[in-house]
């Protein structure tokens, strides 16, 4: 079930001229401050503002004409929603998105703007998976899962494929790659791509404090859940526990996992803004936060961090910037 490097290369072929080949950003000022070389894979510049478009497009592109006609359904805290909505639109499939009622306003508005129908639910009371399944059964549509699916993982893996090529073009031999982790789809794909193309580098997951289920699961050797009472402003990374398929990959490919505080994430958002001119949402900034907070040694080394998305409400960003 786990995608191979060939599956990721096939996804890259499908995404060519459809997805953005996002740039690898570097700041000489930050490099000087940290005493090493820090490179950012800038997925906020991806279509729909996050990497999620890649997996969604790869998945939906494999549906038959009849399946596309019946449409797709997805449940998401926001970025997967926008990715599915826009990919479905490009591929001619109607989309229904099940979203938490307290998701950032910009994510709900954009999902509608991409042409999807939005159904909201209470994040702390209702079961989004059950709602998604009910809509699927009623309409005969196809569920596009957020991470536990080989085509989704292969699509996200194209981030890693590009990263390997861009590191080479930048004459950068990376020692470490840091990548955010919610359900684990992005890092499963990225680490699969990097193990095949750049063997020898260490890959770490980064999660928000209170949602470090993957870090703890890696240490324990089995899937552990987060405390259901935990809260975080990293709304893109609130999956309750590692995915089954994603964890079966990540336990083989990752060197370990880190957790970062909200203060560290806010600082990373300010650095992305000031030194890279890039808008990063909280969940998108955790890997950069881990690098800046010294979770790995940067001195004399080369570290790449995936910045996964930039869909942050202007009001929240204004607060973060004012807190500088």
């Amino acid at each position: 079930m786990a995608p191979t490097i060939d599956d990721i290369r096939d996804a890259a072929d499908r995404l060519r001229d459809v997805a953005v080949r996002t740039p690898l950003l570097e700041s000489s000022l930050v490099n000087e401050r940290v005493g090493g070389r820090l490179l950012l894979k800038a997925e906020p510049l991806q279509r729909t503002g996050s990497f999620k478009f890649r997996g969604a497009y790869n998945r939906i592109s494999r549906l038959s004409p009849e399946q596309r006609r019946r449409g797709v359904v997805a449940y998401s805290s926001g970025n997967h929603a926008q990715g599915v909505a826009y990919a479905a639109k490009l591929l001619g499939a109607p989309a229904v998105i099940v979203m938490p009622a307290d998701a950032p306003e910009i994510k709900i508005a954009n999902t509608r703007a991409y042409g999807a129908e939005v159904v909201t639910y209470d994040r702390n009371g209702e079961d989004r998976e059950a709602i998604g399944r009910r809509i699927r059964d009623e309409r005969g549509s196809t569920l596009v899962p957020p991470y536990d699916d080989p085509h989704i993982i292969a699509g996200q893996g194209t981030v890693g494929l590009e990263l390997a090529e861009q590191l080479d073009a930048a004459k950068a031999k990376a020692d470490v790659v840091l990548c955010c982790c919610g359900g684990g789809g992005l890092i499963a794909g990225v680490s699969t791509a990097l193990r095949a193309t750049l063997p020898g580098l260490e890959i770490f997951s980064v999660e928000p404090e209170g949602f470090d289920d993957t870090a703890r699961s890696l240490a324990a050797g089995e899937r552990l859940a987060n405390d259901p009472e935990a809260r975080s402003f990293c709304d893109a990374l609130l999956a309750p526990k590692p995915g089954e398929l994603t964890f079966s990959i990540n336990r083989e490919t990752l060197a370990g996992g880190f957790a970062v505080t909200e203060a560290e994430v806010a600082d990373a958002m300010r650095v992305a803004f000031r030194d890279y001119k890039l808008v990063a949402e909280p969940g998108g900034a955790v890997a950069l936060a881990a690098a800046l907070a010294g979770k790995v040694d940067l001195a004399g080394r080369t570290v790449a961090a995936v910045v996964s998305g930039g869909n942050v409400d202007p009001a929240l960003m204004a607060k973060v910037l004012a807190g500088d």
Copy 2:
């Protein structure tokens, strides 16, 4: 004296692997709202956060070893300062930068961080050109002018060269290009490059209200100055009147010029943030502001806007975002 397309191609050769080939950004949501295709050339992602690095590097790279040893001096409201400071550092030349005391704090701090010596002056009382000349005479250093120099203009012109190639790669046949204008160096280089590579498209300058000297000069057929009492938060675009060399080029290459209000600029900064995930400073956002404010017809057409820089203080950006 005016640079040719060959001079711009030569600058591009020197800048290869040194400057960033900045991406051309597009948003399907914005395209849908405006009913056309709007593409942004994202120079905030350039080294030092603006296009200014290109011209500075091209200029300083032509100094002899003895000239480099004696160093360079420049006067600048901020972005040229950072561009010169970093280019000089890469090329082994000490740099002195004459900056207005009220320039954004981030620009002064970064200029120092790039290794330059900063001398401040009062923007409304002292003559920065005289200060720059005095330092040059005292130290035997070379003055790097902000715009009225063929090597500076040729370096900035590489933005236009890349834009032409990227429009072609995006299968976009542009009808109009909008570009900000302070002293006119960027648009002189860009328009020279575009006239040689994409003849037929219309190129317009965009300036802040109160500083539309180029628009008025184009209409009058002679160089006119701005009211010395005028003020604007577009700190990168406050040149008193068009440059002599730049205007001699721009009067041949431009179809006309527009002025935008501060409210239109603030709106463009929010759109850059929300829809393109790009940090744009006020002066960097004027071309996007002109497009969004309907200065040119977008319906069914393709318009490219140069976003020239992203060096905005976080506190100012917080205010702009909160004003949404």
